[in-house]
């Protein structure tokens, strides 16, 4: 699997994703600077976490209009798998590749902790190595992760099996106590209608090596490698 990681000014998880991808795929990803308008043909594009363009205007708003993201969007429409993590998820909603928006956390505080998640669908190239309903743990670290979409959008996400991850407790139960940011319906990650674009707030790359304290995210990268093996 050949992957590309898009690097914006202010990205700070690009190296972590680079290491996680290299470990899973056996070859390092191509790192692509935000000013590029073309880059090699790849099997996967990752928009990493961080604070692209200093979160100016709205998180992800500036990155959504950067030169490279026009090319990312074009490839997404052709079916290339796109993974947006944290700020990358915010960029995907700002481009319109994913519906809804990530608002300020309901408690108005930056939240940084290890969070339990329930895998809600395994019908994707991203989550094929998890078991349906599996409870996993990944770090979260964000100020604006409060997912909002209107009722019709939410219904479509549920009906189409496009909610990839929900926040939960260690036993897999959702509810307000397990919801770290006020997200509607406890949503932690969603897919587009074609199921080739995934955005999630948790950081799989930060739990992809036992040395990092957990491997809850490793299966995501290993699953991608298996699904996209060429």
């Amino acid at each position: 699997m050949r992957a590309a990681v898009i690097v914006f000014p202010g990205s700070n998880c690009d190296r972590d994703v680079q290491v996680a991808l290299a470990r899973a795929a056996g070859t390092p990803p191509v790192m692509v600077w935000h000013k590029e308008t073309s880059f090699p043909s790849v099997d996967l594009i990752v928009l990493p976490g961080g604070f692209s363009y200093g979160d100016y205007l709205r998180c992800g708003a500036m990155a959504a209009h950067s030169p490279v993201v026009g090319e990312v969007a074009a490839r997404a429409r052709k079916g290339v798998p796109i993974l947006g993590i944290c700020n990358g998820f915010q960029v995907l909603t700002e481009t319109g590749l994913l519906p809804g928006v990530l608002m300020r956390n309901a408690q108005l505080r930056f939240v940084c902790r290890t969070q339990h998640l329930r895998v809600e669908t395994t019908r994707t190239v991203f989550t094929g190595l998890y078991r349906p309903g599996e409870v996993i743990a990944m770090p979260i670290a964000h100020m604006d992760g409060n997912y909002f979409a209107d009722d019709d959008t939410l219904k479509a996400l549920c009906d189409d099996d496009r909610i990839a991850f929900r926040y939960c407790d260690a036993r897999g139960d959702g509810g307000a106590d397990a919801n770290p940011n006020g997200s509607r319906d406890g949503i932690a990650g969603i897919l587009n209608t074609a199921r080739n674009v995934l955005g999630l707030m948790p950081h799989p790359e930060r739990h992809a090596d036992p040395l990092l304290g957990g491997v809850g995210g490793a299966a995501l990268f290993e699953g991608l490698v298996r699904a996209l093996a060429t």
């Binding site: 928006v101 309901a106 909002f148 006020g182």
Partner: protein, 74 residues
């Protein structure tokens, strides 16, 4: 730009609580937003408004959650 009605505004809510803590009476709902000032070369007010409308839709506002109001000054 302000959040649409129906979209929970936790920052506005926090400001309302803070005003209450200061002893300010009679404060109902508080909505927090953004104010952006733009200098334009265009001198025709109608064309200026159209241009800003386009900017709002494409970048300045996220119309999923935000409403915007445009005022043209002299």
């Amino acid at each position: 730009m302000t959040l649409k009605s129906g979209v929970l505004d936790p920052q506005g809510k926090a400001v309302r609580h803070a005003l209450g803590a200061l002893g300010v009476d009679g404060v109902g709902d508080v909505r927090q937003g953004k104010f952006i000032e733009i200098d334009l070369a265009e001198s025709d007010p109608e064309r200026a408004r159209e241009s800003v409308e386009d900017m709002c839709k494409r970048l300045l506002a996220n119309t999923v959650i935000e409403d915007y109001v445009i005022e043209i000054g002299g």
